[in-house]
Amino acid sequence: MMKSVMVYCEVENQKVADISQELLSAGKRLAQKLGCPLNAMIFGANLKDIKNQIAPFGVDKLIVGDDARLEPYRTLPHAALATEILKSEDPQIVLFGATSVGRDLAPRLASQLNCGLTADCTILDIGDHFVKKEKKEYKDLLYAIRPAFGGSIMANIINWDMHPQMATVREGVMKKEIFDTNYTMEVENINVNEIVKEEDFVVKIIERHIKESGVNLKDAPIIVAGGYGVGSKQNFEYLQELAQLLGGEVGGSRAAVDAGFIDHDRQIGQTGTTVRPKLYIAAGISGAIQHTAGMQDASMIISINNDPDAPINKLADYVINGDLGVVVPKMIKYYKANAK
């Protein structure tokens, strides 16, 4: 049988993470192109019913490591289990979320297995590559496509000789879709104690405060985002006011976050959140790929910019040439005047 596509699933309190569901869908699309099985692995506590959350994505086999010590995530025990599974299953492609878990685990595994890993992909595809030096055509490779160099270019990264081909993907980038609610999936429980050693638990979790972030950019219908061009934290208050009025959320480009204008959890783009709102208002954002990768699927885009040649204007439905300090208060004024 053809080598599988494998997805590492994150789980907490018996709930499969959103990012992992998105990856299962992305994995299924790749597996269908390749005509190969889609498999998944999941490690956590009390997982006896977890299969119901995973099978509908069209997963052929789920490998479960069920042990109280596997939750919350710690690097070494998860790495030990995943290494064992990847060695015995020998998949061609392995996908991880570009989360604080996936970005911690995947590189450790890539080093252990001596294979390639591409971070923060925005597009995954299958294609061929001719290696001139070997005069050989490699068929059906993973195209791991990501913005690179601060987002000024898109790079297609391939790996033809040191497999598996591994990639991480940010939350919100891949579309989640149920494949078949009655899909038949094989479940294999692995014996955790046979694989994980006592010394894999040397790092101890002393305290943990995890809360669902109050910010939900992914589901906001309207986003008012500011870039470096906003100029100051104070100017972001205009955007805040507009967002509140329209029932939306405020976001920022990486440059705005780096400049301290806005909190990190509101970053939009390849290394932040990917959004698909019905209206995206970009103020003082030039439009590096790093940013546009995370918002280009918005239904409608308004760009407010002093620079008529800002790259983002090419994506926009409305381009307002002007200063946001003038434009945004007018938008507020005329919205109040005209909204029913």
């Binding site: 070494l76 790495a79 604080s100 970005r103 911690d104 590189p107 450790r108 890539a110 080093s111 252990q112 294979c115 390639g116 890993l117 971070a119 923060d120 590559h129 195209y143 791991a144 690179a148 160099f149 601060g150 000024s152 270019i153 898109m154 790079a155 297609n156 790996n159 000789d161 040191m162 040397v202 790092v203 979790i205 305290e207 943990r208 405060h209 995890i210 809360k211 440059a255 209206l279 590096a288 239904s299 308004i302 760009s303 008529p308 983002i312 090419k314 994506l315 926009a316 439905d317 409305y318 381009v319 307002i320 040439n321 002007g322 007018k330 938008m331 005329y334 919205y335 909204a339 029913k340």
Partner: protein, 291 residues
Amino acid sequence: MRPLKIIVLAKQVPDTRHVGPDAMKPDGTVNRGKLSTVFNPDDLHALELALNIKDRVPGTEVTILTMGPQKAADIIREGYYRGVDNGVMISDRRFGGADTLATSYTLVKGIEKLAPYDLILGGRQAIDGDTAQVGPQCANKLKIPQVTYVEKVIEINEDAIVARRRLEKGIETVSAPFPCLITVHGSSPTCRSRHAKKVMKYKYARTKTELRSADDLILSLHEQRPYLTIPEWSVEDINADLEKIGLAGSPTKVKSVENIVLTANEAKILNDSDADIEMMIKELIEHHTIG
């Protein structure tokens, strides 16, 4: 408390935060000459964390290790200016073109030469690739635990370090035994400034290669003060396997690079006049986009 031995991994990177319009050539490739280089920001945070531990645990020795072209000797000098005890540079053309796997192999060969150590520190990620992979890959090769995204050291004792990690949705405090590797998050304290006396002391620090084009004054200074000569390690010095370094040791290859040219929409071009903005708002309300 016994003194610790700390190694800080630091990288010189193109300043991708300030990419100007001339940073890309018309064919879509990066015009490296137009980008200035900087000390990778997260690595500066790692350096501060190391120096902070040195302040807290007397006798602690901090060594900064970098890999890169000759120009990257700036990283070592910058480390000296801010208070490290030693600096080592891994530099050899044959290391070029390395992806994260080959880079981690090379750094680990250097770290092994510097062993023993208690703690390896590095930034969470570098701004030229944003991969955050080299830290965990080094930890794996060194067979030591890793603690990623650290923003604060809570406690240090004989055998272990207690640190707070910054996760996407919260924080986590963990203890890890020595030796271990820590990657440092940008939410940790920013690095202290250069120390004027240290700048005076180390401004003529040079690698052997740099000395080849140095003037007599610098050469004679290096004869009198051997500490000014920055150790520079080649493939042979760290006993690296040629198959595991540079392009040959890198599984990931760039198939193609595209300078995305956004194709123009049929945008409505407005100015900041009241008439234009009221017209737009009315259209948006009419189409039920807002309101």
